[in-house]
């Protein structure tokens, strides 16, 4: 429990209306979207209105050694925002103004609480887009997705959040406010701070403003679906498309288990006797180029024994997307706990990884479906289990261990887009080694010596001496 004087000062900083302490409110901020994570009730939730308030809160927290858990919409999938050591939840839900849209410089300046989808809606009339599109675009905040370096469906062609952050204002644990980057395309002044704070999951500083890069919205697109009798055919199609020098905007894959589950619940006429489905979308500014790319995709699908469907109208495009849109919902309806991983492998190992996931599921007798972003090797092996079944939960934990081991064995990574948070901290050393973990500890100690920023996340505590 926080000392009353600290609460009084917090109230003084943000105002009575922007501070919550009731037990019920604390329950509402004790979790995020991650399954199978510990919950913890914070002591207080505050809603800062500007970066000066954030500075004052950080100074107060440092003085009293109170942890600060920054939070956007709390939709992350790594336990990143759970207030593990109680203390202060710093919610940016109400700091949600778009400060500037600058079509001349293809940029926008936003407060951290702006919803990604709201930014896209605001720039649409300028013919621009902000491309990063995690599954949560309609709910997740710019600040949260920057802190998590969120990916999405368009990663292959358009990159991920880090490719669209041009500048930031960050409040450090010292209470200093720093600004770096800006609207210039080129900027090599100082260290590349943006890339330090993007993906730092609230452990190194608190993002209070973002200058985001915008691009012209592609004018044309074609959507195609290929279904395959073997996973190898699907994997070879992905390679074939890249070999044909086509970079699709999206190239999504779903395995048989996922397809069967979607068909079972949504009844949209999917083939259930195929091993994989690829949903491919090519886009661009010139119709000729887009049509030529679609032809190349068509060829790759057919050459690899695939069955092809092509959308001619928006309605047909919508129908083709239905399977992918329904993948997670349909799987999630199978049981009360959804373990959604994001192990990622080099594109050339997609088939290997899909087979590995299926085998792991069988080995531990689990319901496991895999879908994901084939183009960038980012897969979502999804395990559906019953949280009240202890034995099943244990088998699930072992399966997850093996999924990560498999991804690393193929030269992949633990996390393509969800982040480390609490969920994957124990695997960190397997990927980056002791040296890597020590480098993280050094950075953390340098920037946050009192460990008040999102403690218990991402950076493993030094081993007890």
């Amino acid at each position: 429990m926080l000392a009353q004087p600290v609460l009084t000062q917090l109230e003084h900083i943000v105002g009575k209306d922007n501070l919550l302490t009731s037990k019920m409110d604390m329950v509402a901020y004790s979790y995020d979207a991650t399954a199978d994570m510990p919950k913890q009730l914070p002591d207080v939730v505050v809603f800062p209105q500007n970066s000066d308030m954030v500075v004052a809160i950080v100074n107060l927290a440092r003085e009293h050694k109170v942890p600060i858990y920054s939070r956007g919409a709390g939709t992350n999938l790594s336990g990143g925002t759970v207030p593990l050591n109680k203390g202060i939840v710093l919610s940016f839900q109400k700091m949600n103004k778009i400060l500037d849209i600058d079509p001349d410089n293809l940029s926008a300046v936003v407060q951290p609480g702006v919803i990604i989808g709201a930014l896209n809606a605001a720039v649409e009339s300028h013919g621009l887009i902000y491309p990063p599109d995690p599954g949560t675009v309609a709910t997740a905040t710019m600040g949260g997705s920057a802190a998590e370096n969120s990916g999405g469906l368009r990663g292959l062609k358009y990159g991920v959040t880090k490719n669209y952050i041009m500048g930031m204002e960050v409040v450090l644990a010292s209470g200093e406010k720093v600004r770096f980057g800006g609207k210039t395309v080129k900027n090599v002044t100082a260290y590349d701070f943006a890339n330090l704070f993007v993906g730092s999951e609230g452990t190194l500083g608190i993002i209070t403003e973002i200058t985001a890069k915008l691009i012209p919205a592609p004018k044309f697109r074609r959507t195609l679906v290929g279904t395959f009798k073997t996973l190898a055919d699907a994997g070879n199609t992905v390679s074939g498309i890249i070999a044909a020098k086509v970079i699709p905007a999206t190239m999504e894959i779903m395995d048989n288990m996922t397809l069967r589950t979607v068909e079972n619940s949504a009844k949209i006429g999917l083939p259930t006797d195929v091993e994989a489905m690829l949903l491919i979308e090519v886009d661009g500014m010139s119709e000729d180029v887009v049509v030529a790319e679609a032809k190349a995709v068509e060829k790759a699908v057919l050459e690899n024994n695939g069955t092809l469907s092509i959308a001619q109208t928006d309605k047909e495009r919508d129908d083709l997307w239905a399977a992918r849109r329904n993948a997670l919902p349909a799987l999630a309806q199978l049981n009360n706990t959804v373990i959604l991983e994001d192990a990622t492998v080099p594109r050339s190992h997609i088939t290997d990884m899909l087979i590995a996931c299926q085998n792991i599921g069988k080995k531990y007798n689990l319901t496991l479906g895999t879908f994901g972003h084939a183009g960038d090797g980012n897969l979502h092996p999804t395990i559906l289990c019953d949280k009240n079944n202890k034995d099943e939960m244990e088998r699930m934990h072992k399966a997850v261990d093996e999924i990560f081991a498999a991804a690393l064995s193929f030269g992949g990574t633990l996390s393509g887009e969800h982040g480390i948070g609490m969920a994957k901290m124990k695997y960190l050393q397997d990927e980056i080694g002791e040296g890597g973990v020590n480098l993280m500890r050094s950075l953390k100690a340098a920037l946050d010596p009192d460990s008040i920023l999102n403690p218990g996340k991402m950076v493993p505590a030094p081993a007890e001496a």
Binding site: M24, D25, V27, A28, Y31, F47, A73, T136, T139
Partner: protein, 448 residues
């Protein structure tokens, strides 16, 4: 005492809070509800949105929080029960049932606050309720001063709405209660020669007391389509206004009365012109009376034979195409209970588009809640007004001169929303536009 024995036998979520556990478990806290929850959109706090309400319900079941903790009580009523979250939920959590079960549990634990008891008891007796409607003006300021002390929530009855219109807020614009309700204006049976079908019109209170003209239009449209309409005098309020306050027993009494009235009519279908009423017949009655051996099967029978007037006209019979021109630019608002409850959204548009001269201009997010939520607008006026402001802006942007919708409660809220921002528009039940077209056609025919 029959009721009591029955209630004891049954263990639905309306009787036993633990029965919602499985429903709660379905929620994966993904937060997709944040994208569509109108209350969260305005308040931007976790406790405003569905997934948190679910987390809090779990905490109540686990004994971490008390159901009658004042904060929990407050949270329970800070919800429009608009079902928007349910239409965006990947795991199809039936949040409406969770919310109503919590409210029912609260009523079981603490009893209905005295005000609710007073108002709801009048609903059980249509005669008394009628008298109340007439005497309403004199009584209401008193009742609402009682509500101001925070002890009670007002129901979504026109009774309460009438009260709000007298005295508390002069800015609030409402249709005046009519001196002669719909069911007194029309005979109990409106016949046609060689009727193709006989249907019962369940008017609901809002059409009966506030928009009797829309009710008459509905009857006229059915007549024009060669349908005989029965308007049983013995029907009561559908019960939604009390159900959302957790008074399950009153709703059961109303449901049985209504079923008796419809049974006695000898009709083949029930027609509604209000999303909440139709929703009660289609979903609430069968569930509430599920274990009642007499009324359970009747409720199920009628659930399958209850249609919104638009569905009846376009799916059950073949709408006689209207010929009279209605030169109007209209935008259509989807009522939550009509679209997200009764799954009706294409049919009213089909009807509007069949009217010669009428141009339908869609607004942005036509299914975004208008903020009424029955009594929510009374108990959470500021939030409701902020939600309504967005709706008004979306309407104004279309350039339409009239707003059509299919639920009287939305009509009241839209009237107020637009008036508050100085953008008064014609607010009309879509059925009235169809009736107008038929009338014009008839006038032209008789002139010829």
């Amino acid at each position: 005492m029959d009721t009591e024995t029955l209630t004891k036998k049954k263990s639905s979520s309306f009787e036993e809070l633990e029965a919602i556990r499985e429903e709660l478990d379905k929620c994966m806290k993904c937060g997709n509800c944040m994208a569509v929850c109108p209350v969260y959109g305005v308040e931007k706090q976790e406790t405003s949105v569905t997934r948190s309400k679910i987390a809090i319900a779990e905490a109540v079941l686990d004994g971490v929080l008390e159901l009658d903790d004042p904060q929990v009580y407050e949270m329970l009523f800070n919800c429009l029960v608009c079902k928007s979250c349910m239409s965006n939920c990947p795991t199809q959590v039936n949040f409406e049932r969770i919310m109503l079960a919590l409210r029912a549990a609260l009523v079981r634990k603490n009893g209905l606050p005295w005000l609710k008891r007073m108002i709801f008891s009048t609903l059980k007796n249509p005669k008394l309720f009628d008298a109340g409607m007439r005497l309403g003006a004199a009584m209401q300021p008193l009742v609402f001063r009682g509500e101001q002390d925070g002890q009670a929530m007002a129901p979504r009855s026109p009774f309460a709405l009438a009260g709000k219109s007298f005295g508390l807020d002069r800015e609030r614009l409402l249709p005046g209660t009519t001196t002669k309700p719909l069911r007194e204006r029309v005979p109990e049976v409106v016949g046609v020669q060689d009727a193709a079908l006989h249907v019962a019109f369940f008017t609901g209170d809002s059409l009966n007391y506030f928009y009797p003209q829309a009710g008459e239009d509905l009857i006229a449209v059915l007549s024009a389509n060669n349908i005989e309409v029965h308007i049983p005098k013995n029907q009561s309020c559908c019960g939604t206004p009390v159900l959302v306050h957790g008074d399950v027993e009153t709703v059961r009494i109303l449901a049985r009365k209504n079923i008796d009235a419809m049974d006695a009519s000898g009709c083949s279908h029930i027609i509604t012109g209000c999303g909440s009423c139709g929703n009660a017949w289609q979903h609430d009655y069968p569930e509430l009376l599920g274990s009642d051996p007499t009324y359970g099967p009747r409720a199920q029978y009628w659930a399958e034979r209850t249609f919104d007037i638009s569905t009846f006209l376009t799916k059950v019979i073949k709408l006689r195409p209207p010929k009279g021109r209605v030169e109007r630019v209209v935008t259509y608002h989807d009522p939550c209970h009509l679209k997200k409850g009764m799954q009706v959204s294409a049919e009213p548009r089909e009807i509007l588009q069949s009217i010669p001269g009428l141009t339908l201009k869609e607004m942005k997010a036509p299914d975004r809640c208008c903020g009424s939520g029955g009594s929510f607008v009374l108990t959470h006026y500021e939030t409701a007004a902020s939600i309504g402001k967005q709706k008004a802006a979306d309407i104004v942007q279309t350039g339409a001169t009239a707003v059509a919708t299919g639920c009287p409660a939305c009509m009241m809220q839209l009237l107020d929303n637009l008036h508050r921002c100085g953008q008064d528009r014609e607010i009309v039940h879509y059925i009235s536009l169809l009736a107008e077209s038929y009338r014009k056609e008839q006038a032209a025919d008789s002139n010829a």
